[in-house]
C-alpha cells in the first residue's frame, strides 16, 4: 500500500510547529505547496544523496530543536553508509522521513532494485526507532509522537505521486543558508 506524497506532506505541515524541515529532490518541489516557514530548508543541489547527513549535522548543532529530513529512497542509495553514521551518533532530535517510491522520479522514474528492504537496512545500521507506515491515517496518528518523542526516528513512507510537479526553483544557495541561520539566530 502507498500514500499520495502530497497528502503525506500536508499531514506533516499541519502538525509541524518550530521544527527545521530539510527537503530534497521531488519533496522540494511539493513542500512549498503546503508550507512556507522560515525553518524550511531546500537542500536541492547541495550534494547528491546528502540531505540526511546535512540534517544530522544540524541536529547535532541544535540539540534543542527537532530536525526533520524529507528525502527519497534513491537519494539514500547514494549515501547508504550514512545510515551507519546516523545510528552511531543518533541525535534524539532527528526525524528522517524516507519517501519510498523505488525510483528516481526526478529524472524520469527509472526504477531500481524492487526488493530493497529499507527498514531492515536502517535497523542493520544500528538505528533503533525504525518503522514503516503505509497508511495516511496511521501517519497522521503517529506524527505527534514522532515530533515529540526522543529519537532519532527513521520512518519509511511508501508513496506515489499523481500530482503534476512544479518546476524546480533555482534559488541562490548562499541565500538559503543565510536565511536558515537567521531563523536560528546564528550570528
Amino acid at each position: 500500500m502507498s500514500m499520495e506524497r502530497l497528502d503525506v506532506l500536508k499531514a506533516l505541515a499541519d502538525k509541524r510547529s518550530d521544527e527545521i524541515v530539510v527537503t530534497t529532490m521531488t519533496a522540494t518541489l511539493q513542500w512549498p505547496l503546503v508550507s512556507s516557514h522560515p525553518l524550511d530548508f531546500d537542500f536541492l543541489a547541495f550534494g547528491m544523496g546528502h540531505a540526511a547527513d546535512f540534517g544530522l549535522g544540524l541536529a547535532l548543532a541544535r540539540p534543542e530543536r527537532k530536525v526533520i529530513v524529507l528525502k527519497g529512497d534513491g537519494g539514500l542509495l547514494m549515501s547508504l553508509g550514512s545510515l551507519v553514521t546516523l545510528g552511531r551518533y543518533a541525535p534524539p532530535n532527528l526525524l528522517v522521513l524516507l519517501l519510498e517510491n523505488r525510483s528516481y522520479e526526478m529524472t524520469g522514474g527509472q526504477t531500481f532494485a524492487p526488493e530493497v528492504d529499507f527498514p531492515a537496512l536502517a535497523r542493520g545500521a544500528g538505528l533503533k526507532n525504525v518503522e514503516r507506515i503505509d497508511d495516511l491515517s496511521r501517519f497522521e496518528t503517529a506524527l505527534p509522537r514522532l515530533l515529540t518523542e526522543a529519537g532519532p526516528h527513521f520512518v519509511v513512507l511508501p508513496v506515489v505521486n499523481s500530482a503534476s510537479l512544479p518546476p524546480v526553483r533555482h534559488t541562490d544557495h548562499t541565500t538559503r543558508v543565510t536565511r536558515l541561520r537567521e531563523a536560528l539566530d546564528v550570528p
Binding site: 544530522l56 548543532a61 541544535r62
Partner: protein, 156 residues
C-alpha cells in the same frame, strides 16, 4: 591550535598521517569528533554543523577529497560555507623519495583544489603549522572552503 582557532567539531576519516591527530581529537573534551562512512557524507555533516552555529574542521585524505567532490561543491562552495579542510597528501612521501607512487592521487591533489578555486597551502613540517590559522582565516574572509595539504605526520 584548532582549539585556539575556535573549532568546536572535527569531522574526520583519518589517514596514515592524521591518525594521531584523530586520536588526540577524540581524547580531547573540547572538540567533538565525528567519523563518517565516507568523505562526501562528512562534508555534508560539517555543513549542517556550521549552519547550526558550530565551527567544524574536516580532516580527510586526498582520495576522500576526490570522492567528496559533489558534496564539496554543493555543501561548501555553492552556499559559501567557510569549511577548513585538512587534506592528507597520499603519495607524497613516495614521490619525494623517488619510489613508485602507490597510486595517482598525489599529482592530482593541488590541481584539483585549484580547479575548484580554493585557496590552499602546504604543511610539510612543524615550522609550517601557522598555515592552518592562515587558511582558517582565508575560509572565513572568502566565505568558502580553504585547504591545508599535509605531507606530514601530526604528532600532537
Amino acid at each position: 591550535m584548532l582549539k585556539t582557532l575556535g573549532f568546536t567539531d572535527a569531522v574526520s576519516i583519518p589517514d596514515g598521517e592524521s591518525r594521531l591527530l584523530y586520536q588526540a581529537l577524540v581524547d580531547d573534551d573540547e572538540i567533538d569528533v565525528y567519523l563518517p562512512a565516507r568523505e562526501g557524507e562528512g562534508i555534508a555533516i560539517a555543513a549542517g554543523l556550521w549552519v547550526g552555529g558550530r565551527k567544524p574542521v574536516i580532516v580527510l585524505q586526498n582520495t576522500g577529497l576526490m570522492e567528496a567532490g559533489d558534496a564539496l561543491r554543493g555543501c561548501g562552495i555553492g552556499p559559501s560555507i567557510p569549511l577548513l579542510l585538512l587534506v592528507g597528501w597520499r603519495g607524497y612521501p613516495g614521490a619525494m623519495s623517488g619510489a613508485l607512487p602507490i597510486d595517482s592521487a598525489y599529482p592530482y591533489t593541488e590541481p584539483l583544489l585549484d580547479a575548484w578555486g580554493l585557496a590552499h597551502r602546504r604543511l610539510m613540517s612543524d615550522e609550517d603549522l601557522d598555515v592552518i590559522a592562515e587558511m582558517a582565516q582565508v575560509a572565513e574572509t572568502s566565505s568558502k572552503p580553504a585547504a591545508v595539504v599535509y605531507g606530514y605526520g601530526f604528532t600532537p
